[in-house]
Symmetry: C2
């Protein structure tokens, strides 16, 4: 039942804050902009956007958002990947998802964060203080609209995950996960046959509500059945996408 107890007391980031004497055009050249809610702000107002935020980097393994801490700011990831998770007092962990480039974190009505965010690799982010974000949203309703769209999509994804966690078997969970990852990693292109799994088996287990051992066993079983191939622990090739998709939906 318990998972990596080490995680019960997450390492808090010693935040590497970049002093914000940034060139005002910083946002204009941001790689993450096409993937983020920021693209709702028109190009001419990029300076306004840049002025509302500061940037920072979280080192691998450190938390830059901690569950229960005062939610005085919002984060927009511009590089790297973070795991978002909640912990029970005894160390049991549930990963809510993995946040990549363009992902917005910390939009909460409550005054404290409801989950933690831990950098998997080097995570670059923009930080908006609450009042400044509020001011931005008031000035740019299109950004608020975009934020609503993004939040709605996350809610839909969360509900899909509730179905997975509440009613699917281990095989179905892994199949669903692999299908979703293959779509996700493919970016804008068609879903790839081969793709990388950057997270550990422990992360996958805590995302799917299973144990490390069950994840490992189930993957090798899917391999023996000819549905997938596993060139190395971090790579997967889908051999029978239809079969995997049927499995993910609970058929057979």
């Amino acid at each position: 039942m318990t998972t990596n107890a080490r995680l019960a007391t997450p390492v808090m980031a010693a935040p590497v804050m970049v002093p914000d004497h940034r060139h005002l055009g910083a946002c204009a050249h941001c790689d993450a902009r096409p993937h983020s809610v920021c693209n709702a702000v028109p190009a001419v107002d990029m300076a306004r956007l840049a002025a509302a935020s500061t940037t920072g980097i979280a080192q691998p393994g450190t938390c830059f958002v901690e569950e229960g801490a005062k939610a005085d700011a919002f984060f927009n990831i511009t590089a790297g990947t973070a795991r978002l998770f909640k912990l029970l007092p005894d160390g049991r962990r549930q990963i809510m998802g993995f946040a990549g480039v363009g992902h917005f974190i910390g939009l909460a009505v409550s005054s404290t964060f409801t989950f933690s965010a831990e950098a998997i690799d080097h995570v670059h982010y923009c930080r908006f203080s609450r009042p400044r974000l509020r001011a931005l949203l008031d000035d740019f309703p299109a950004m608020e609209q975009k934020l609503l769209e993004v939040t709605s999509s996350e809610l839909v994804a969360a509900q899909e995950q509730m179905l997975l966690l509440g009613r699917k078997t281990a095989r179905e969970r892994l199949a669903s996960f692999l299908i979703a990852e293959s779509r996700h990693n493919a970016g804008c292109h068609l879903p790839r046959r081969q793709f990388a799994l950057p997270m550990t088996r422990g992360d996958i287990a805590d995302y799917l509500g299973l144990t490390i051992e069950t994840v490992s066993r189930t993957l090798t079983r899917l391999r023996h059945e000819g549905l997938i191939e596993i060139p190395s622990a971090g790579d997967v090739v889908i051999l029978d996408r239809d079969g995997l998709e049927r499995l993910a939906e609970g058929l057979t």
Copy 2:
């Protein structure tokens, strides 16, 4: 693993559409308004709000939103309660939540509904076609802001449920559920010691990712331990709130 297979083919509502020659002040006298996103529209614009929607009633046991159907409208519940759920092809059901007065349903970026909504009792609702809602939101940014707040809160609740479904034991799930229901049923007042459970054991099971038998057994166990009392199947009294809350958080 399977749950009530009867539900695999939900009864579609023969919708009782009320022809909309409504008095334009209908929204002004709406009981649900204080609980709904509609209260973001100023009182002087009630006529505009009323003109954008039609009303309807769903009979108990009928679906007024069906997963996979074209999402051409949004619903706002003005009376009654509905269960929101997703199904797997073999009939396994996961309930995402129970929607009461003021609850907004069907806000999706996707073109189809991602879950079904089934009336538990007589459900009265307002129906907004997509384009009309879009127009309303454009005219009243405060409504869009309110909608973002509500959606964010739902996302937070969904993530809490993911923790429950992925990592909590049956006892912890029931304890969490009872605490949440006691808060919810209390309305604006302090959480009540006694409250009603309007849904069936089957609904509770499909909401918590358990079976009917486990729900029943776990409730009687909590009763024997002196944490709760069960005057009748539909009523619960909390005898030891602290104990229940500790259990819900995974302590002991």
